[in-house]
């Protein structure tokens, strides 16, 4: 499980995320909703250790990670699928997945290919030559290979065609059931968030301003925050 307490992140002098706190339980899927520029990606980068934080604590399974380097956080059970996917374009699909392996063994977990059969088909292609949706699957597969307990996905639906977005929601729920993962996904697309998440957090100007469980009435309440 993931606990974030009093997280503040700044770019130079300007603070972007202010005193953010939330907790996500084991096996829970939470969506972090908000418009562009509200601090979703900044929050995720700070959780991963890519951005330094001003104050606050990040705990995974009770272990404090706020002072650790990104690779140490991965070893403690955090995994990250960044915005824009950031697969390694010159590595083959198989090699991309293998970068997530932490043990000296070279075995990719079997369920990765069961979840994403297209990656097995294309395992010798270069990552950069895949379509956007395939790259998204690859980025998730790479993250799953690190055997995480918490999976962070930053805007996974960005630039992906609607039919694949539905598949993505199904696959994420399947992963949760298969591995008992905690999943945090940042999102602007409300229909996707409602389809995948148990609980929705709304972030505005670097603060969490509302919290809704996904049931009837949630859509209207959250969409207020997302309309421009």
């Amino acid at each position: 499980m993931l606990e974030v307490n009093g997280l503040s992140v700044a770019y130079g002098q300007s603070e972007v995320v202010h005193d953010l706190s939330f907790a996500v339980g084991t096996g829970e899927i939470v969506a972090l909703m908000g418009r562009n520029g509200m601090g979703k990606t900044t929050t995720f980068k700070a959780l991963m250790g890519i951005l330094g934080i001003r104050s606050g604590s990040v705990r995974v399974n009770g272990q404090e990670l706020s002072a650790s380097a990104p690779h140490q956080r991965v070893r403690s059970g955090l995994a990250y699928v960044p915005q824009g996917r950031m697969i390694f374009p010159n590595l083959t699909v198989r090699e991309n997945i293998m970068t997530g392996l932490q043990t000296r063994a070279c075995a990719i977990p079997q369920d990765v290919f069961t979840l994403f059969p297209v990656l097995l088909e294309m395992s010798q292609r270069r990552g950069g030559n895949l379509s956007g949706g395939q790259q998204q699957q690859l980025a998730i597969a790479r993250a799953l290979t690190t055997n995480p307990s918490v999976l962070l996905l930053d805007e996974p639906t960005e630039g992906i065609q609607p039919s694949i977005i539905k598949d993505l929601a199904r696959v994420l729920k399947e992963i949760r059931t298969l591995r008992g993962l905690t999943i945090v996904v940042s999102e602007q697309v409300l229909s996707f968030a409602l389809a995948v998440a148990d609980r929705l957090l709304v972030i505005e100007r670097g603060q969490i301003v509302d919290e809704v469980t996904a049931m009837s009435g949630a859509a209207e309440r959250v969409s207020r925050y997302l309309s421009v």
């Binding site: 991963m48 250790g49 890519i50 380097a69 990104p70 690779h71 991965v74 070893r75 995994a79 990250y80 960044p82 950031m86 390694f88 374009p89 010159n90 590595l91 090699e95 293998m98 970068t99 997530g100 932490q102 000296r104 070279c106 270069r126 950069g128 030559n129 790479r142 993250a143 690190t146």
Partner: protein, 307 residues
């Protein structure tokens, strides 16, 4: 070229071609290290030549020691010298990364100046330690002499040895880069350092090992270099321009391109040198490379991938 029969002309071409091969070997060993450091990591290492010098002096030192204290060891010392050259350059490279290079990954121009300064410091260091005069290692007997496949053609044995060493090392580096866990981590790190960290790769450790390995290979080049030339404080720096030329011409991302480009540059200069003056040969090779790079700015080989 008058008074040459066709047979003699052929023999000259073969021997000159072989000289080109010896040059190719040293150039390739230097370029392999630089292809890792510059091509993969993007660090402009002007001190790369000095790591060759380290390897060469290590070989000289070992030859001197075994000549004076353990003559029975003379036939074997050279094999140890290759390892020692690698180890010495690897260790110094490791320290250099720790003290200097790791602060400069996002500042390529600063890394150019800093490593150039380092090169000058190292050259003066060699001068203070070993003197300004060139030294040469005493080669074991089995490296002297030549092999005559047919009369009129003499292939020097030291050249053959260097070539075998180069092929072994090239194969080793290629296997390490494309088949090993470290190679995968190195390629991932160089493509996207931030993301590599976020999939659990300790990028600092990978960078340090990668840089040190590139330097270590230059050290082996130094050991090989002692068999074909004498060693002075600036021996390595003579090669640095040619080495960069090889890496850029071959395509900075491609190891196979490095091999192909080292071969063509070394062969072209060696064969042309026989038919014209040394500087004219250099000029024509350089001009050809410039024209080819104007048509293919990414070098001979490049990765076909969308970005």
């Amino acid at each position: 070229m008058e008074g040459l029969t066709l047979e003699e002309f052929g023999a000259i071409l073969v021997m000159q071609g072989f000289n080109g091969l010896s040059y190719f070997c040293v150039l390739l060993l230097m370029a392999l290290g630089l292809a890792i450091i510059f091509g993969q990591m993007g660090v402009i290492n002007m001190a790369h030549g000095e790591f060759l010098t380290i390897g060469a002096y290590a070989t000289f030192l070992l030859s001197w020691l075994s000549e004076h204290y353990a003559p029975w060891f003379m036939p074997y010392y050279f094999l140890l010298a290759v390892l020692l050259g690698f180890a010495a350059a690897f260790a110094v490279g490791h320290l250099t990364e720790l003290a200097l290079i790791r602060h400069l990954y996002r500042r390529p121009l600063d890394s150019l100046l800093a490593t150039w300064g380092l090169a000058l410091i190292m050259q003066q260091g060699f001068r203070s330690l070993f003197g300004a005069r060139e030294v040469s290692a005493t080669l074991p007997d089995w490296l002297l002499g030549s092999w005559q496949p047919v009369s009129g053609i003499d292939i020097p044995l030291n050249g053959l040895f260097v070539m075998a060493l180069t092929m072994l090392l090239t194969a080793g580096v290629l296997i390490l880069t494309y088949r090993s866990r470290w190679g995968l981590q190195m390629r991932a790190t160089t493509q996207n350092r931030v993301m590599a960290g976020a999939v659990g790769i300790d990028t600092q450790q990978v960078d340090r090992f990668t840089f040190a390995l590139g330097c270590g290979i230059a050290g082996v080049a130094g050991a090989a270099f002692t068999t074909i030339g004498s060693t002075g404080p600036t021996s390595g720096s003579l090669y640095i321009v040619d080495t960069f030329l090889v890496v850029v011409f071959g395509g900075a991302q491609s190891m196979l391109g490095t091999v192909a480009s080292a071969f063509s540059i070394a062969q072209a200069s060696s064969i042309l040198e026989f038919f014209m003056t040394g500087s004219m040969a250099k000029v024509s090779v350089l001009l050809t490379i410039i024209v080819i790079l104007m048509m293919r700015p990414e070098g001979l080989f490049r990765a076909n991938v969308r970005r």
